[in-house]
């Protein structure tokens, strides 16, 4: 990883003591802190409703579309404050989210979907768009075969690739991935994992939100476990994968002991 110290500081996501509420009353996140270092892969695990997607919305600035708001704490990416900003600010700063459930523009062609990924960057020269498209097509040859097909007619796996490719068109330095394995066949899940590794190797940091803990922990350097709006555990991914609580709750393994309290590396 080519990371000189100042660059590292400039390109890291810091979430500090974040509180988020929906409709001014329903508290979704309480005092959540999390860091994604430059070029790193961090995973955020948790059950349905734990607040994983809420955290991503807070970072990408889409909370307001869901009548949610940040009620405390800070989010910054390098020098740029991202809390309370609109999604354009996040995209401009280099933080791009791939939404849960893929959400490709079904009526637009594959190529138009990719073009739409570059919209947030303002006037980009056609050369940059071509470059981005090239990169995506190298990563996903399947998409290169059908640029003029409507995205809604692609298979689930292809749509997930397109959703990731679309985000890559914005040349992100940090990619937020919300459940990329959701609803995909195991073979496709493995392919997505490969892709995440490849994207990371090209220098893009990844914050991976997953219910598929096995896949996520194998990819990540660092992991956080979110439970009912609070970070319960955090630590290096391989260590966390060995703890009883994570093995029992998220990897579905039988364990002898029953002491989640002495599991992880303490509450973050």
């Amino acid at each position: 990883m080519p990371a000189s110290p100042p660059d590292e500081e400039r390109a890291a996501l810091h979430v500090e003591d974040l509180d988020v509420a929906y409709g001014r009353a329903l508290s979704a996140l309480r005092s959540v802190s999390l860091t994604v270092p430059h070029g790193g892969v961090v995973t955020l695990l948790g059950a349905n409703g734990a607040g994983k997607t809420t955290l991503l919305r807070a970072v990408s600035g889409t909370l307001r579309l869901h009548r949610g708001a940040i009620t405390g704490g800070r989010i910054r990416y390098g020098d740029t404050a991202l809390d309370g900003r609109d999604p354009v600010a996040a995209v401009r700063a280099g933080v791009v989210q791939v939404p849960e459930g893929r959400r490709v523009f079904a009526g637009l062609t594959v190529d138009e979907n990719l073009r739409s990924g570059g919209l947030g960057l303002g006037r980009r020269s056609p050369a940059l768009v071509r470059e981005g498209r090239e990169r995506v097509f190298t990563l996903f040859p399947r998409l290169a075969e059908r640029p003029h097909q409507a995205a809604g007619l692609l298979s689930g796996g292809e749509q997930q690739m397109l959703a990731i490719g679309r985000a890559l068109m914005a040349a992100p330095r940090l990619l937020l991935l919300d459940e990329p394995s959701l609803g995909l066949a195991p073979r496709m899940v493995a392919r997505i994992a490969e892709v995440v590794r490849e994207i990371n190797a090209q220098g893009t940091a990844v914050l991976l939100v997953e219910q598929n803990a096995g896949m996520a922990l194998s990819l990540a350097d660092h992991a956080y476990v979110l439970e009912v709006g609070e970070i319960r555990l955090s630590g290096p991914a391989d260590e966390l994968a060995r703890t009883d609580a994570v093995r029992r709750l998220y990897l579905g393994e039988e364990t002898g002991t029953d002491h989640p309290s002495d599991a992880g590396q303490g509450v973050a």
């Binding site: 990408s60 307001r64 791009v96 637009l108 739409s116 919209l119």
Partner: protein, 298 residues
């Protein structure tokens, strides 16, 4: 035979004017999920501006200024009265109701100014006609067809090739996903309203040109015939709006042209025909001619 060609041409001319209006409906609905009931009054505003300005500025100058002002008014209505800052995907219904109120305010004020007059827009075609083979056709109708075709073509190109067009189509498909791509939802939407306003002002010219008598306070209501055209086309499809408009225009022209033969339907069925066609088409295709399933995003 002459009657057939006659009706065909006037149907096309009517249809191309309706298409300008219907395209505005569709652009607004696509961008904001709002059915703009104030569209007729925007058209009336555009026409009124041309009527009062053309003496001083000449027709072209008046038209240009009216198009710009109507676009600005439409954009401002959306930005400051409907959107008011944050994009809110759940507010489309309320905003649709608000446009009814806006329509009443605009029409009331413009009616007061126009009174019982018939205003001329000072268009260059006047009542001159051309002989095209066996039929005689008003120049204003030929101009309507040509100008509409060019403008509509340009709008389609905007949709397909510009960043704004792509932003609009992406946002219409999925507001949140578009916003995650950094699409400026507020701006894209306001520009859509501006475009619709500009199209409405342009449509006013041809709607009141010969053989219509001139601009009167009810001109805005005539524009509402573009409404069934837009619905026919599926409401979210610009191509559908175009097809729907031509269909409505032809229907109206033929019903009026063969009025004596269709006497059994009663006098003035031409005014009803667009709605009858809309109902018939929707009975067979509930989502319109080109509407996608679930096209109603409100």
């Amino acid at each position: 035979m002459t009657g057939l060609l006659d009706n065909l041409l006037s149907g096309l001319a009517l249809g191309s004017v309706y298409a300008l209006v219907a395209l505005g409906f569709v652009v607004i609905f696509k961008a904001s999920g709002v059915l703009n009931f104030a569209h007729g009054s925007l058209l009336l505003l555009g026409g009124y501006l041309i009527a009062v300005l053309h003496d001083d500025l000449g027709f072209a100058g008046a038209l240009a200024l009216a198009v710009v002002v109507t676009a600005a008014v439409a954009g401002a209505l959306d930005r400051f009265l409907l959107q008011r800052g944050e994009p809110d995907p759940h507010a489309a219904h309320v905003q649709t109701i608000v446009t009814i109120g806006l329509d009443i305010v605009l029409v009331t004020d413009l009616s007061r100014r126009i009174g019982g007059d018939l205003l001329s827009l000072g268009d260059p075609w006047g009542d001159s006609v051309h002989d095209l083979g066996p039929v005689t056709v008003a120049d204003s109708r030929l101009a309507a067809i040509v100008v509409s075709a060019v403008v509509i073509g340009a709008v389609f190109a905007l949709f397909r090739y510009t960043a704004w067009g792509l932003s609009l189509r992406a946002a219409a498909e999925d507001l949140e996903a578009a916003s995650l791509m950094g699409v400026r939802l507020v701006r894209v939407r306001t520009l859509a309203w501006c475009l619709a306003g500009a199209l409405a002002a342009l449509a006013a010219v041809f709607l009141v040109a010969f053989p219509a008598p001139g601009l009167e306070r009810t001109t805005g209501q005539i524009a509402l015939k573009a409404f069934p055209a837009a619905i026919l086309g599926g409401m979210t499809s610009p191509g559908g709006a175009l097809a729907g408009s031509v269909l409505i225009g032809l229907t109206e022209a033929f019903v009026v042209g063969y009025q004596t033969e269709l006497h059994v339907l009663g006098e003035g069925f031409g005014d009803v025909a667009p709605y009858a066609v809309m109902v018939l088409v929707l009975l067979v295709r509930p989502t319109g001619l080109f509407g996608a399933r679930g096209a109603a995003r409100v």
